[in-house]
């Protein structure tokens, strides 16, 4: 059996699965129950400034019969008195010395306030801190949360304040509500943070009630933007994670990353790990199904590792990071065409209409005489010479492995856009030259 233990900036955890700072980590009762269920660590629901919550905090994105593919919330940080939280943190750590207990904190933007809370939390014996620079609602209006995280200078400044007094590792949690996530990540590095976590929730409005005209979720007739999380945000989280994980400054500082945003299955978690997360955090999936989901997270990951012959987490963390690249470095000579397997095709013709109306009009409906029906319907057939290899048809095809994109070597030069612009600047500036180049490179767009 593979060993799932991790060492995250000095914080040891029996497995990479942590509960994200959120409702499931609101109390000692919950976190201890979660540890019993198998969670390796937990980031305590953010504690700090006094708050009041509202009713109807959640809105959900339900899609074609599936509930909660996305979850939006207008919840604030912990609304329980800070003394109670501190007492329960100490008790939890005492009862579970081998699990990672990390405390998320957020206070007003004053040096004394930050340093005081850090010192108070240190006394609980917790393993580390997470600085919540991400909450996009309620707290940000008070100059906290994402209001801090969106300004790299503030992120750096607060991180420094904290680092000056903290003796335990400090994780800076980034907000996704910025144009370039790398800036706050570098600010965390500059502020001497021990680690980075991302993503917090994404600004969103989940919907409008078309009968009552109310905004969802409806708080006494009003509604507003809240933080979006859950399976629907995973691609965004993966992108932001990969941007941070592949940034040279972050890499040079060797900061471990705790990734989150839409993790529901062990495969989701594995993708975060392959893109550079040492630990992964989960919130929405637990809100949907409870702590028990951890069993399959652990079992699925360790079965996968066994099957692939990996023994430790270090062998897989960041394994795909070196593949993250940019458009300018993609191979322009890499060519594929769509091929339809008529043994599998059920003749729904979705590929045909997708290519006809939204791609390059290179699928024909033809008589093929390949089955024994008297009134055989027409079959979709790709004109491979005209196919630009966009991949739309294979994305829409409802049948697994029915349309495959097959690699096609036509002698196009293997060159990247960056190389091309360097070698032949005119080609990327004038359409006439571009046409000439295409001819020589055997690229025909009809």
């Amino acid at each position: 059996m593979a060993n799932l233990e991790i060492n995250f900036a000095g914080i040891k955890s029996p497995n990479p699965f942590w509960l994200a700072s959120a409702p499931p980590t609101n109390s000692g009762y919950q976190i201890q129950k979660a540890f019993e269920a198998g969670w390796g660590g937990a980031v305590w629901k953010t504690i700090g400034a006094p708050v009041l919550n509202v009713c109807n905090r959640y809105g959900t994105m339900d899609y074609k019969g599936s509930k909660i593919i996305g979850l939006n919330n207008v919840e604030l940080i912990s609304d329980r008195p800070i003394e109670i939280n501190l007492k329960e943190i100490a008790e939890t750590k005492r009862n579970f010395p081998n699990n990672a207990v990390i405390v998320s904190v957020m206070v007003e933007s004053k040096k004394e306030a930050w340093q005081e809370i850090i010192k108070r939390v240190e006394q609980t014996g917790a393993d580390g801190f997470e600085l919540n620079f991400g909450c996009p609602h309620g707290m940000s209006e008070r100059g906290m949360g994402s209001a801090m995280g969106q300004v790299p200078e503030y992120t750096c400044m607060v991180t420094e304040w904290v680092m000056d007094v903290a003796t335990k590792p400090v994780i800076v949690k980034l907000t996704p509500n910025v144009t370039d996530i790398v800036q706050p990540a570098r600010a965390a590095v500059k502020g001497r943070a021990s680690a980075i976590s991302l993503i917090n929730t994404i600004n969103s409005i989940i919907g409008v009630d078309t009968d009552t005209f109310e905004i969802k979720p409806n708080v006494g007739g009003k509604g507003g933007h809240g933080g979006y999380a859950g399976p629907a945000v995973k691609p965004i989280a993966l992108h932001l994670l990969s941007a941070v994980a592949s940034d040279l400054e972050v890499q040079k500082a060797r900061l471990p990353i705790s990734g989150m945003g839409g993790i529901e299955t062990w495969k989701d978690a594995l993708e975060f790990i392959l893109l550079g997360s040492t630990s992964v955090q989960v919130c929405t999936s637990v809100m949907h199904y409870g702590f028990r989901v951890v069993e399959d997270l652990i079992d699925g990951l360790s079965n996968w590792m066994d099957d692939k012959g990996f023994k430790t987490m270090d062998e897989i963390i960041g394994k795909s990071v070196h593949r993250i690249s940019n458009f300018g470095d993609f191979d322009l000579g890499f060519q594929t065409v769509a091929r339809i397997n008529h043994d599998k095709c059920i003749q729904c013709n979705l590929c045909y209409i997708a290519c006809e109306d939204a791609a390059h009009q290179c699928i024909d409906l033809k008589e093929l005489k390949i089955d024994s029906r008297v009134n055989e319907r027409l079959w979709p057939v790709v004109r491979e010479d005209d196919c630009v290899g966009c991949d739309l048809c294979s994305r829409v095809c409802p049948i697994d492995d029915c349309i495959t994109m097959v690699e096609h070597e036509t002698g196009r030069p293997h060159i990247t856009w960056n190389e091309l612009s360097k070698a032949k600047p005119a080609v990327v500036q004038e359409w006439g030259k571009m046409e000439e180049y295409r001819k020589t490179a055997n690229i025909d767009i009809h």
Partner: protein
């Protein structure tokens, strides 16, 4: 029958003999399995799990199919039920897990049986071994009968470190899973692979040995620390009517066993077949006869549709196979010149309730008639092993109505060294494979507690 459980449409004459004996339900494709698994709500404290006699953690195994952790899914199943691959095929799921599914009332229940088969087949295909034999604890257990009860008990005991030997009178182990479940429900290979898995846990399976004849019970009881009796039930009893020894009168169980163990094209069947009885065996024999090619198959039962012991889904399946039912009809004589030519019957009416609580059939005077047929299959239940019962009685083992009496929480008999389970103790309620498996588990737990003490048992048996 839930809609997704519809058997494949077939027209006998369009299919070859081999095709007709393929499993009725095709395996789920990866996509179908994933879609179905994602339909499951992952209920907390799920009723489906409660309704499974072996308490398989159904939401968990289904969730694992949904996430692509099929290996983990199979393990979850086999941890509670070593014969999960058989149970996936033969369990009356409509009466058990699927009948209890929260989606049963308004919508379609989750196809739990077929998902279970998907996961266990995956493990078999990939040849994954999940369990190891336990550290030897120096205790020896003998098991009589290698049916599901015996195999399950043996496997659980082996995991706990016992030295286990099973004695089986047939040539092949597996009990009715091997010889009694029609091929198109469960191919014999599935049962034999389970036997192999049990053997790989270190269990010795001695076939072709009848305990009480080739090996005396005395020996087993003396030389072992415990004995688990799982002998099931016996042959089909006689009907006690004239002509029943005529050539052309067959035993339903033997008829089914032939289709499991012999080439299909060598099996003799009649053109017009009369089946006597209306329980599982009768239904199975009838549907087999149809699939072999019998033109007319009549099931003859002396009570009415409401009293038949076969499950409703079996009845529907038989109707779909073109089997005819003659209710309130009592066979009174097999007629024929040197071989079966017909079955003389008398019509019945329902009178007052009898001891079983069912209304007793009473003959209608002068209503005799002859059902023409060239084959009669008797399928009126199974005999009890009276000889074994008498023998066990000398060791203090008691009985209820011809079945071995056991304490249901331990499956222990009145003799503390002797345990029993499966059909041979099922004096009330429906007998089924999954209940036999659970009996084996319960007995294994009790044997362990009795001989080794409590301890870390809970982890492997729940």
């Amino acid at each position: 029958m839930a809609e997704h459980y519809k058997p494949v449409k077939y027209k006998a004459w369009e299919m070859s003999l081999e095709e007709r004996f393929q499993e009725v339900y095709p395996p789920l494709s990866e996509r179908d399995a994933t879609v179905e698994a994602n339909r499951c709500l992952f209920c907390y404290d799920a009723p489906c799990m409660d309704a499974c006699p072996t308490h398989i953690d159904i939401p968990t195994f289904i969730k694992k199919i949904a996430t692509g952790n099929v290996k983990g899914s199979a393990r979850t199943i086999l941890e509670s039920n070593l014969l999960g691959a058989t149970c996936a095929r033969v369990c009356p799921v409509q009466e058990l897990c699927e009948g209890a599914c929260v989606l049963e009332h308004d919508h379609k229940p989750i196809a739990i049986g077929r998902l279970q088969r998907y996961a266990t087949d995956y493990a078999i295909e990939k040849n994954i071994k999940f369990f190891e034999k336990g550290k030897p604890n120096g205790k020896k257990v003998a098991i009589v009968g290698a049916g599901p009860a015996g195999l399950s008990c043996a496997g659980e005991l082996a995991k706990l470190g016992f030295d286990v030997t099973i004695y089986e009178r047939q040539k092949l182990a597996g009990g009715l899973d091997t010889y009694g479940i029609v091929v198109f429900r469960e191919p014999i290979e599935v049962s034999l692979r389970e036997v192999k898995m049990i053997e790989e846990l270190g269990v010795t399976v001695k076939t072709g040995i009848t305990v009480g004849r080739d090996v005396p019970f005395e020996d087993l009881i003396e030389k072992n620390d415990a004995v688990f009796v799982a002998i099931g039930l016996g042959d089909v009893p006689n009907m006690e009517i004239p002509g029943e020894n005529l050539p052309g009168v067959h035993d339903g169980l033997e008829f089914i066993a032939e289709t499991k163990t012999q080439p299909l094209n060598t099996i003799k069947f009649g053109k017009r077949v009369a089946i006597i009885g209306a329980g599982n065996t009768a239904i199975d024999a009838a549907t087999i006869a149809r699939r072999l090619g019998a033109e007319r198959v009549n099931m003859i039962y002396r009570r009415s549709e409401a009293e038949m012991t076969a499950y409703h889904f079996e009845y529907e399946f038989a109707l779909g196979e073109g089997v005819s039912f003659m209710f309130l009809t009592q066979p009174i004589e097999v007629v024929g010149n040197g071989r079966v030519e017909g079955l003389k019957c008398i019509r019945m009416d329902l009178g007052a309730p009898d001891q079983s609580g069912r209304r007793a059939p009473v003959p209608v005077a002068n209503s005799e008639f002859i059902v023409e047929c060239d084959m009669v299959i008797k399928a009126i239940g199974q005999k009890k092993h009276t000889d074994v019962m008498q023998k066990l009685a000398t060791f203090g083992v008691q009985e209820t109505k011809g079945y071995i009496a056991v304490d249901t929480t331990t499956n222990r008999t009145a003799n503390p060294k002797i345990f029993a389970g499966g059909d041979c103790v099922r004096s009330i309620g429906e007998a089924s494979t999954v209940m036999a498996v659970q009996d084996g588990k319960i007995a294994a737990r009790a044997i362990h507690e009795q001989l080794v003490g409590k301890g870390e048992l809970a982890a492997s048996i729940s």
